[in-house]
Symmetry: C2
Subunit: 252 residues, 2 copies
């Protein structure tokens, strides 16, 4: 029985893709068959896993807009038990194309229905907006993991995100839960990070993962080699943090 | 005669808002009457300038969707010669509402037509997407300033952004030019930053500003005090870099 987790936050650059790729790699490393679905037209998760987008003919675009059976878009990655449904540049036009379609919010849920139970986890990497691609992810998901960067602007958008989650739960997907809030780019030396951590843990009491993801240049370097942090620097703080996060997710 | 500059990049978290606020403050500090227009539903520029969004009744939403005369939404800031058209949460629905409207791409251009010549500079802070809010900004703008974070994923989306700029130039706004590319969050100690700088300067030959904006926690702290970097830490590297950038923009 698969657990479908959406990685969502409309604030940009907070670590959604880095978490999708490295949590996915860590879950696979720990023995779980995992599928990452790249719903961002920028395709950073696709690139970060070393896939050449220009060579792709099938992607999540065909799933959403042409009812392609999902299995046909699934790619293996270099990691055992880790698979990907990539995104290509065509996805950039999808939000406007979806507006006019019937049951447009359910396209991804429909597309994943037949294949999701072949996996232990399905991770949905969302773009930095609350448009129809993110709404599709929230409708298809069992839960949402919210990465929050340890910086000031990070807290501002969370209310809007929580309102959207409630709206989706009421109207589109009654089983949608909060998987948890993840503090990213945490730099223990700055009071800014400490202040944000204190505020986030106060607001979300107990829904914040124990593991913080430290700010670490190794995490930013790994995608330029098309590698997960586990392969790029297995003993780094970033790799340890994502393994610890995977274990927390498995505990639930 | 105002220069209207859009700050655009669909990659999230690259420094669009930080540049809008601090370049705006620096231009005003150097004697130029400057208007910042916050086109991001997250309203980070509005918050970063110390404005309480919950108290606002008029914002850029009314300009785009209710043809409110722009002057009525203009707010003064605590800084002389620096003004703001704020954004509120209502803007989150604007992209879908705009889709069905006549000449939807020209709403901002129309709205700013009567007031822009009362300013030396108008800076448009865009959300992290290439949807109708960003298209409106590109249609209203004379030029585009592209902040690029000195990290790997930053280069990936630039081709898509340049394609969109060309599309807007061909179909909606023939005078649209590239103001320049700005390297942000530059950390000279990492090879990652040095590699990205080398790649960006090679790709954009001569269109990259001489001043890089250094990664500096002071820049991330300033908005939590509702202050520009010039007020928060006038002698910091961040403040010096944005003043140098303002001087480069004025040279053109
Ligand atoms: N813990 C970390 N330490 C240092 N750098 C990080 C960390 N996590 C992510 N990064 C870097 O920060 C940048 C933003 O991260 P990422 O692209 O994962 O965010 P995102 O939320 O997916 O962005 P977008 O909103 O554009 O989709 C990237 O360059 C990434 O490599
Ligand atoms: N030069 C810098 N050094 C350190 N931190 C920075 C710098 N510039 C911006 N930041 C911080 O990085 C984060 C992202 O910056 P900012 O919000 O300006 O980016 P953005 O492109 O506007 O994001 P979005 O895509 O969500 O609109 C913020 O927390 C900001 O305070
Ligand atoms: Mg991403
Ligand atoms: Mg912004």
């Amino acid at each position: 029985m698969a657990r479908v987790i959406a990685l969502a936050n409309q604030k940009g650059g907070v670590g959604k893709t880095t978490t999708a790729v490295n949590l996915g790699a860590a879950l696979a490393h720990l023995g779980n068959k995992t599928l990452i679905v790249d719903l961002d037209p920028q395709g950073n998760a696709t690139i970060g896993l070393g896939v050449d987008r220009s060579e792709l003919s099938l992607s999540v675009y065909q799933l959403l807009l042409e009812e392609l059976p999902a299995q046909e878009a699934v790619l293996p990655t270099k990691y055992q038990r880790l698979f990907l449904i990539p995104s290509t540049i065509e996805l950039a036009g999808a939000e406007i194309e979806l507006v006019a379609m019937v049951s447009r919010e359910y396209r991804l849920q429909e597309a994943l229905k037949d294949i999701k139970d072949g996996y232990d986890f399905v991770l949905l990497d969302c773009p930095p907006s609350l448009g129809l691609l993110t709404i599709n992810a929230m409708t298809a998901a069992d839960s949402i993991l919210i990465p929050i960067q340890c910086e000031f602007y990070a807290l501002e958008g969370v209310t809007q995100l929580l309102n959207t989650i409630n709206l989706v739960r009421r109207r589109l997907n009654p089983r949608l839960e909060l998987e948890g809030v993840l503090l990213t780019m945490f730099d223990g030396r700055t009071t800014l990070s400490q202040d944000v951590e204190r505020d986030v843990r106060a607001v979300f009491e107990g829904r914040v993962f124990r593991s913080n993801i430290p700010r670490s240049v190794r995490l930013a370097e790994a995608p330029s080699h098309g590698k997960s942090i586990l392969e790029y620097e297995p003993h780094s703080r970033g790799a340890q943090a994502y393994l610890a996060l995977a274990k927390e997710v498995l505990e639930k």
